[in-house]
């Protein structure tokens, strides 16, 4: 361990602001990328399966209509 106390870790020998800023922003952006990809996937799955269920319903309604006509 290079740092003997938490405050010296945060201070980073006077460069704390720059070091923590760059690490913070980098991991934040990377995290956002992951979250965006996951959210996109969730949304896609949701809309696709909604569309499919709708298709199924439409088909069923059509079949019912046909049998009613007969």
């Amino acid at each position: 361990m290079q740092f003997d106390s938490l405050s010296s870790l945060i201070a980073m020998g006077g460069y704390g602001f720059y070091v923590w800023l760059s690490f913070g922003v980098s991991f934040l952006v990377m995290g956002l990328l992951v979250i965006a990809a996951k959210a996109e996937r969730r949304n896609l799955l949701k809309t696709i399966s909604k569309n499919q269920q709708r298709q199924v319903r439409i088909q069923k309604a059509r079949q019912n209509g046909q049998s009613a006509q007969e």
Binding site: M1, Q2, F3, L9, M12, G13, G14, Y15, G16, Y18, V19, L21, S22, F23, V25, S26, V29, M30, L33, V34, A37, K38, E40, R41, L44, L45, I48, S49, N51, Q52
Partner: protein, 252 residues
């Protein structure tokens, strides 16, 4: 030679492959990136010249290196797509673009935050910073071109050409900017000689480079799968996939 690759031109095969690979990439990424960063931040000795500010290297160098390689990977995917007419290759290319752009942004941002204490300015027209900035423009161009077309098939091809033009240009940009910079080098910027890095500093750096690589790979797989799902949503295999998923959820 590339026979093993051909089955993955089918979107379904590509989907299931990247679905299988994603957890591995993500897992290895966490396993490398977390200890690598902690090691770099907490345990490596401070640089005798730059003090603790050199620790930014552990995020800056991986991002800068991989921003370039991601662009080359994108261009390779574009070439594969154009030569063999693979839609999947274009999808992979466009899946990589934002990830690479984010890497470039990280490299630029951390470069600025490192430059401020070292050079006394957030931005200097240093050769590497400048070529990284141009690389960001290239990424933005590819992404903007892709999103400008409504027909994504067309968009992939157009963005692919752009990526290829860019990759021909990258070495030219690199050397021209280097040359330009040495011509215009002001006296205020003292260039650090690149000292051979000590091994205790090198190991966490290598870990972070590998970890970042895995991060890019995992993200690319995730985004590729999103792209495949979006474009292929009317295919039977996607319906079957979703059907299975629904049943699994119901069973749980």
């Amino acid at each position: 030679m590339f026979k093993w690759l051909h089955p993955y031109a089918k979107t379904q095969a590509a989907y299931s492959l990247s679905q299988r690979l994603t957890p591995w990439f993500a897992g290895i990424c966490v396993l490398l990136l977390v200890p690598g960063t902690l090691w770099g931040l907490l345990f490596t000795p401070a640089d005798y010249q730059q003090g603790d500010s050199f620790r930014i290297i552990y995020i800056h160098v991986p991002a800068a290196m991989l921003s370039m390689s991601t662009y080359v990977a994108m261009a390779v995917a574009a070439l594969v797509g154009i030569v063999w007419q693979w839609r999947t290759a274009f999808m992979a290319m466009i899946a990589m673009a934002p990830v690479g752009a984010v890497m470039t942004f990280i490299a630029l941002f951390t470069g600025a935050a490192w430059g401020k204490p070292m050079w006394g300015a957030w931005w200097v027209w240093d050769a590497r910073l400048t070529s990284e900035l141009i690389l960001l423009f290239l990424y933005c161009g590819v992404i903007a071109l892709y999103s400008a077309f409504d027909d994504k098939q067309q968009a992939g091809k157009a963005a692919g050409i752009m990526a290829l033009v860019g990759v021909v240009n990258i070495p030219v940009i690199h050397f021209s900017v280097q040359w330009w910079n040495t011509l215009h080098q002001g006296a205020t910027i003292t260039k650090f000689d690149k000292p051979s890095i000590a091994t205790e500093m090198l190991w966490p750096l290598l870990m972070n480079i590998a970890g970042m690589m895995m991060f890019i790979a995992a993200l690319t797989c995730m985004r590729l799968n999103n792209e495949i799902l979006r474009r292929e949503q009317h295919r039977p295999w996607v319906s079957a996939l979703l059907h299975d998923r629904r049943e699994n959820q119901n069973a749980v």
